[in-house]
């Protein structure tokens, strides 16, 4: 087949104008289709303010920057919930390393800690995000796979079972911190692993890395009824989170760094939960770790070295 040299009709005006007309139609149709496909973005709303978008990394914020950031958060919370919160940037105290100890002999599996935690830490109610998962375990085993996550017994405890609440273990060697590609989560010197919710990119690698199922992701915009909002907030703690970021137990930073106990401890009806400073030899947790004969770090073989200890009384 001889290759055609440019034939007259191809370059003629009529053909050219027909061509450019078709081209115009195609371009117009394409743009319209693109616009239509992007239409859902109209509901995007307050995805991110420019202030939030350009905000620097937590550790690089000067005290002045931090003041502005806290003011912005207060403004945003007030705008959204109609309540003026008190947001603080609480720093770790010197000479303090927090440790949790949980008495498995006493725990009755009532899940009051789960709900106190949700209320204290402004977790989304719909879908409900919980930091604490209570496992109903048959006597004689520490194999979590034998645990029941969804028990709905009318009364607890049930004979033949013990109950094991699991939350962030505040590891000394946290796998979640190691894997975060943007340093959005790190361990503070009081032992608490925190998340900068304004820096997290939501890749969920930490969630895959955590051996304790302690991390939670905001799969959608968190929903908290305004009258349930806890206005006592901390930047690295319980301030409301945005869609698309990670969160987890932070030992109630807004309370514990101000000298109070975590909410889960205060609500526990049987006193199974103990919390304190391991660096203080006179603290309750120091006493427990010194004197109790059996205590367990969950999945010790992972080498994560949790700051969360389980023990039995008898």
């Amino acid at each position: 087949m001889p290759a055609p040299t440019p034939t007259p009709d191809r370059t003629s005006d009529a053909a050219m104008s027909r061509r450019s007309f078709l081209r115009g139609c195609a371009a117009f149709g394409g743009l319209t289709a693109l616009a239509a496909s992007l239409a859902p973005l109209r509901e995007l709303g307050d995805f991110s303010s420019s202030e939030e978008f350009l905000q620097k990394y937590y550790k690089e914020l000067t005290p002045e920057d931090m003041k502005k950031v806290l003011a912005r958060i207060e403004r945003e919370v007030q705008h959204q919930y109609g309540i003026r919160p008190h947001v603080r940037d609480l720093r770790p105290m010197d000479g303090v390393e927090f440790v949790y100890a949980l008495n498995l002999t006493r725990c009755i599996g009532c899940r009051k800690c789960v709900h106190a935690c949700v209320a204290e830490n402004n977790q989304s109610r719909n879908p409900e995000i919980q930091y604490i998962r209570v496992l109903k375990m048959p006597h004689g085993s520490m194999d979590v796979e034998k645990g029941d996550h969804n028990y709905t017994d009318k009364s607890v405890p049930e004979k033949g079972f013990f109950y094991m609440p699991v939350q962030c273990q505040q590891c000394k060697n946290p796998p979640c911190v190691k894997v975060c590609p943007v340093n959005a989560t790190w361990q503070e010197k009081d032992g608490i692993t925190v998340i900068d919710y304004d820096w997290c990119i939501g890749c969920r690698y930490c969630e895959a890395a955590c051996p304790y199922f302690a991390r939670r992701f905001n799969f959608t915009k968190p929903e908290i009824p305004a009258d349930r909002l806890n206005p006592n907030m901390a930047y690295l703690g319980n301030r409301p989170r945005k869609q698309g970021v990670m969160e987890k137990c932070h030992f109630c930073i807004q309370r514990t760094r101000a000298g109070k106990y975590p909410a889960c401890l205060e609500v526990c009806p049987v006193g199974a939960r103990k919390f304190g400073n391991i660096l203080d030899p006179n603290s309750e947790v120091s006493y427990i770790l010194r004197e109790k004969r059996v205590f367990i770090q969950l999945k010790e073989e992972m080498g994560t070295s949790p700051r969360f200890f389980y023990y039995f009384d008898k």
Partner: protein, 579 residues
């Protein structure tokens, strides 16, 4: 400098323009892909607004088909090296022309990978937090930061290599070895690294025993080197079919003029050639005189055939004026392998080697041709510069031979055996030891506590892989029909095995022993389809640019001419053979 920049811009503009030109099949294909892309964009816009809740993922299974596809496609990208290694390390001639198709596939695959990780992010607006210097990159501790580096690096390497080689071909310039060979070798190592690093993303997680196995890395490579070349085998056949200039019958027409007497060539003719071929200037007067022995000049009309595939003759030709196209018959189709313009040679391979003609050369315009007997060509080649330019141009062609597909078949064959072997190793370890760490594998292969979501998937994958392996081992797969079946089975099998079979069960049961099934949502699936369509769209556009350049249809020599040559044959193509 300014001219160089201008030339490059013209090149880019022509490449961009040709992407919008094609026959109705091209428009239908691109239009269809665009529609799917837009459906994906729409689905992603919804996800952006409502969050990842529109996917099937949960806190329990926190990665799904996005990351599964990402993992598979990193493998496809890495597999481009399986074309590069034979060519650059073992000097394989058959695959030489085709390396670029593999690398372009790698570029398209990496683009898809980057899109898949982006759509998986909860806060894509904060991607800049990853950029070193501006943001915070947790390097070297986080394997994800390694992945960001190696994937982007691999993208740049391949864009550089393809772009440079194509631009040189376009300019008819010999590529400077130092400017691409080091990158080729770097890309080989880099390709292994992208897949190893991606495997390490999983392997590094101590809390997930299913992933925390050292065999995952080798398995990734083996499955990538199976699925990647299999995909290339299929892609090359599609390229071969759609870039055909017409049916093979067109090569039978035309009158043979290659042997017609013509007039004896003179020094003036050689001087004319020297104008188009500067290397001729180095040929001495004496050598020119010697080269005239037996040389003739013939004038030919469009459609005249200068040499015919399969025949034997010892003449070599140079175009003095006009244009000659070299077409090769492959099966029942004919395809342009090279275009000769003033100063270009053709027919030199069989003239020098005394072999049968590999293709048919047809004049496209009224042309004046210098015909040399092999002895005269050898005289010209005594001059080093001529030797270099003639041998360089010898490889400037586009041939997709069955033999090259069979070389790739060999790679798929061996990789598939290794892949299945590694799978057996893993299955043995998981099940024979009987530890609680085997729970994920139990869930995957047989179901756990009444949950069976992945069981049909993995057995389909294993069935496909085994059937593909058997076909590949049998001689029937030397025929393209069975080879294609084996390739499709391998690709689908490995896609499942690596995606649904590796990413998902790693999450089930959770570290606290809960079992939550995962099923991708419709929205999530649409996003995936959109990204695949976009990747195919990119690959098609890359090929649309690369093929005419490799065929010599789009070169600097025809810059500024009204129509981009290389489109006409496709436009005039009779309906493609039904397949």
């Amino acid at each position: 400098m300014i001219t160089a920049a201008r030339n490059y811009l013209v090149f880019l503009r022509r490449c961009a323009r040709i992407a919008f030109v094609g026959d109705w099949r091209y428009y239908a294909w691109m239009g269809g892909l665009t529609v799917i892309v837009l459906l994906g964009v729409n689905a992603y816009a919804k996800q952006l607004v409502h969050g990842l809740v529109v996917t099937g993922m949960s806190d329990e299974v926190s990665w799904g088909v996005y990351i599964a596809n990402f993992t598979f496609l990193v493998g496809v990208a890495a597999a481009a090296v399986m074309m590069v290694i034979p060519v650059y390390i073992y000097d394989n001639e058959e695959l030489h022309d085709l390396v670029i198709f593999g690398e372009l596939l790698a570029v398209a695959a990496i683009i898809m990978c980057l899109l898949f990780v982006t759509v998986d992010l909860g806060r894509p607006d904060r991607f800049w937090h990853l950029i070193p210097g501006v943001g915070q990159m947790n390097f070297p501790r986080s394997m994800l930061s390694w992945d960001v580096i190696v994937l982007n690096g691999y993208l740049l390497l391949n864009v550089h290599i393809c772009g440079y080689l194509l631009y040189c071909r376009y300019q008819k310039r010999k590529p400077a070895k130092w400017f691409y060979i080091p990158f080729v070798f770097l890309a080989i190592v880099w390709a292994i690294s992208i897949h190893t690093v991606t495997a390490f993303l999983y392997v590094g997680l101590g809390g997930r025993p299913f992933w925390n196995a050292s065999i995952v890395g080798p398995r990734f490579l083996a499955s990538a080197f199976t699925a990647g070349p299999a995909l290339i085998i299929l892609a090359l056949q599609v390229i071969r079919r759609v870039t055909a200039s017409g049916s093979a019958t067109e090569l039978r027409g035309g009158s043979d003029v290659g042997e017609k007497p013509g007039r004896p060539a003179t020094l003036a003719d050689l001087a004319l050639l020297a104008r188009e071929l500067p290397e001729m200037a180095n040929v001495t007067e004496t050598d020119r005189q010697r080269a005239l022995v037996g040389a003739a000049v013939i004038a030919v009309a469009p459609g005249d055939v200068l040499l015919r595939q399969g025949t034997k003759s010892t003449y070599a030709f140079f175009v003095l004026q006009g244009r000659v196209v070299v077409k090769k018959q492959e099966g029942d189709l004919a395809r342009i392998t090279r275009t000769a313009r003033p100063g270009d040679q053709f027919g030199e391979v069989s003239a020098l080697h005394g072999t049968a003609r590999e293709a048919t050369a047809i004049a496209e315009e009224p042309s004046v041709i210098l015909r040399l007997p092999a002895s005269a060509l050898n005289v010209l080649l005594e001059t080093r510069e001529m030797h270099v330019v003639v041998h360089t141009r010898m490889t400037e062609r586009l041939m997709i031979t069955d033999r090259s597909l069979l070389i790739l078949r060999g790679i798929v064959q061996v990789s598939m055996i290794i892949n299945v072997f590694l799978l057996v190793c893993e299955v043995f370890k998981e099940f024979y030891s009987g530890t609680t760490h085997g729970a994920s594998a139990k869930y995957l292969f047989f179901g756990l506590h009444g949950h069976h979501a992945l069981v049909p998937w993995i057995w389909t994958a294993i069935g496909f892989n085994l059937i593909a392996m058997v076909i590949l081992l049998l001689p029937v797969s030397r025929g393209l029909k069975y080879l294609n079946v084996a390739c499709v089975l391998s690709i689908v099998g490995i896609w499942i095995e690596k995606g649904m079979g590796l990413v998902i069960p790693g999450f089930i049961p959770t570290p606290l022993g809960a079992i939550v099934d995962y099923v991708p949502s419709v929205n999530e699936t649409l996003v995936c389809l959109g990204i695949w369509a976009f990747g195919l769209l990119c690959y098609t556009v890359f090929l649309r640019m690369a093929v005419p350049i490799l065929q010599g249809r789009m070169t600097k020599a025809n810059e500024g001419q009204p129509d981009i040559q290389g489109d006409e044959p496709a436009a005039a193509l009779p309906a493609p053979a039904a397949h």
